[in-house]
């Protein structure tokens, strides 16, 4: 792998990891939010 391969890998791993954690967080929140009444959610 030449320089550009390492550079691209760095950026793909960085942005990909952030994207995956964001996706997992939103999906899990969606699953849990269904089971909690809205009046118990302080952000609403």
């Amino acid at each position: 792998m030449d320089d550009i391969g390492f550079i691209l890998a760095s950026w793909l791993i960085t942005l990909g990891s952030i994207g995956v954690l964001a996706f997992v967080t939103l999906r899990r929140a969606r699953q849990l939010a269904e089971h909690v009444p809205d009046e118990a959610k302080p952000w609403l």
């Binding site: 320089d3 390492f6 950026w11």
Partner: protein, 249 residues
Amino acid sequence: MVSRSTGTTTTRVIGIAAIAVLAWVVVSAFFITPADFQQGESVRIMYAHVPAAWIAYLAFITTGITSGISLARRHRTLGFDRVAGASAEVGVLFMGLALITGSLWGRLTWGTFWQWDPRLTTTLFLFVTYVGYLAVRNIDGDPHRRAKRSAILALLAVLEIPLVHFSVVLWRSLHQEASVLNPDGDVRLDDMMLFTLFSGVVGFTLVFVWMVIHRQRLATLRDLQQGVGLDAAIAARRNEGAAIAGGGQ
């Protein structure tokens, strides 16, 4: 109908801003900033590596501060404890990214993925400490006791950050000294490189804030689903509603 999200207008604005700033950073890192006179093209990793490391510090310091507050206000609410946990989770992500991108950058500049150098070793130790902190948070039991022991651990763990940051000054290190946050205040970077690096810090900070808000709300939902503080939360919201209605009359 029950809301199925932890999002609000504020988090949506922060999320869109984060995507816009990070898009600019990628364009600038690859197509606008010059190659380094010593490191060549590999310097383009810096715009991901350095902000990731700084935001990990920010996250762990946030965990330390909110843990201190949580310890001082114990047995009231778990709000600060949840923020501490969420911040540590995001900090571990960014510290892991700093280690991986640093390793790839090291392969290009030093010829090796890893060296047991003071900066790298202390950074790895910091990362492992916070992975341990997250493991302690996941031990079952009374949430208030969990909050107390996690807060004590977080207050000890945050003391490692100065050791990591100044390791390049305290010991002979393969890792370069700071080009921006150095003790003599001399910034050793081209203007466009510095601006892109600064943009990266802003973009990653927005990601950090967005993630912490969502993940602490997720922790709230998890606790509420398990019945922790559900009655109190509903009573508080009813009192809020009654106070607003009373004020409007």
